[in-house]
């Protein structure tokens, strides 16, 4: 058995500071707590933060407002813990030769075409969406053709 240990094993966790009070006039204070001394600025919006308001996410110091808006807009990747891969769903549905799957695939490729794909894909390729769109249109056209020929509309 091999073990690779790192200093975090024995280092004590950082004690969360509740923030020091503003002592002298002219000292910068926290944006959210006017009576507390600012210790750092938010890396996103630049607001001054006291020890209590400072949230460390990775190597960034962020305020609660930015975290909330980042999560709402889905712009902070580290807060994202699940992603549906619409491009793969659409591709599989477009290949399965059923009329309804083609329509569903076309809906997915249209509705979610700008959605991010897998987080791990380094190349920002959207080829699956394009291929799924082509196959779904083809599938729908073939479906329409089969329905028309079955009902005899094409014969007339």
């Amino acid at each position: 058995m091999e073990v690779a240990l790192f200093p975090a094993v024995y280092r004590k966790a950082d004690v969360v500071s509740t923030g020091d009070a503003v002592l002298a006039e002219g000292e910068s204070s926290c944006f959210f707590h006017a009576e507390k001394k600012a210790s750092i600025a938010c890396d996103r919006c630049g607001r001054f933060l006291c020890g209590l308001c400072d949230i460390q996410l990775g190597n960034e110091h962020i305020c609660a407002t930015c975290i909330e808006s980042g999560k709402k807009k889905g712009k902070m990747q580290k807060l994202e813990n699940k992603r549906l891969l619409r491009d793969r769903q659409a591709l599989v549905l477009s290949i399965v030769p059923l009329f309804l799957t083609g329509i569903t695939a076309l809906y997915l490729t249209t509705r979610y075409r700008k959605d991010p794909t897998s987080i791990s894909i380094t190349q920002k390729s959207r080829w699956r969406f394009s291929v799924a769109w082509m196959f779904s249109v083809l599938q729908i056209l073939i479906g329409i053709f089969l329905i028309l020929s079955y009902t005899g509309v094409l014969d007339t």
Partner: protein, 215 residues
């Protein structure tokens, strides 16, 4: 939807397929469920980000993410498993049986089929032997522990860990065994408080509070 900030991730290790059931059990289940035995497998892949490791779990249609910042990683453990020997014996037996069937006099077509199968299984055995010993790799933080199936071979896991170790040490500094020893040794507690003799006497001599009697 706006495009998210997407750091470049580099895949570390293999595909990372794993199952909660032992592999040999799955091997025998293959003869029952055939290709559908793949449904018993999950995927967990390790990626290297700028300041963290990313563990991606999921199926083909959805993914769940776990981020491990370099500064929060406590340790990696590599434990050798018996899967290597188990697979080696199983595959070698399969090759031996197929070869025996291939050289048994009889139908020529059957001999060719069994010979080809022996060749394929033999090639799988060779690849298995060349990839090296199997290991069970785990990443530990203060609050969690995650199994990394993508680092399932000793040589490859050691190579990847040496890369990660460098990055983590840049963030955390080098591991110092003395500090570790100090942190784990019991801290000297505060000295027991000495009760002054006078106070002790007072406590002994203290008269109980009398309750006023009703007249």
């Amino acid at each position: 939807m706006e495009e998210k900030e997407q750091p470049n991730y580099r895949k570390l290790g293999g595909g990372g397929r794993y199952s909660d059931a032992p592999e040999l059990v799955l091997f025998f289940l293959f003869f029952v469920f055939n290709i559908f035995v793949l449904l018993f497998y999950k995927r967990r892949t390790l990626y290297l980000g700028p300041d963290h490791l990313l563990v991606v779990e999921g199926s083909s249609y959805s993914e769940t993410y776990k981020f491990y910042n370099f500064r929060d990683i406590h340790s990696f453990t590599l434990r050798r498993t018996y899967d290597y020997i188990g697979w080696m014996i199983t595959l070698a037996l399969a090759v031996a049986v197929l070869l025996w069937l291939a050289i048994t006099p009889g139908d020529d077509v059957a001999n060719i089929v069994f010979g080809s199968l022996a060749g394929i299984v033999g090639a799988v055995l060779l690849v298995h032997l060349l990839r090296g010993r199997t290991v069970h790799c785990e990443l530990k933080t203060a609050v969690s522990s995650v199994y990394l199936p993508s680092l399932g071979r000793l040589g490859h896991a050691q190579k990847v860990l040496s890369q990660i170790r460098q990055l983590i040490e840049e963030e955390q500094g080098a591991f110092d065994p003395d500090d570790f020893e100090r942190a784990n040794s019991p801290a000297p507690g505060p000295e027991p408080a000495v009760v002054p003799a006078q106070v002790e006497n007072e406590a002994v001599d203290a008269t109980p509070i009398e309750t006023p009697k009703e007249e």
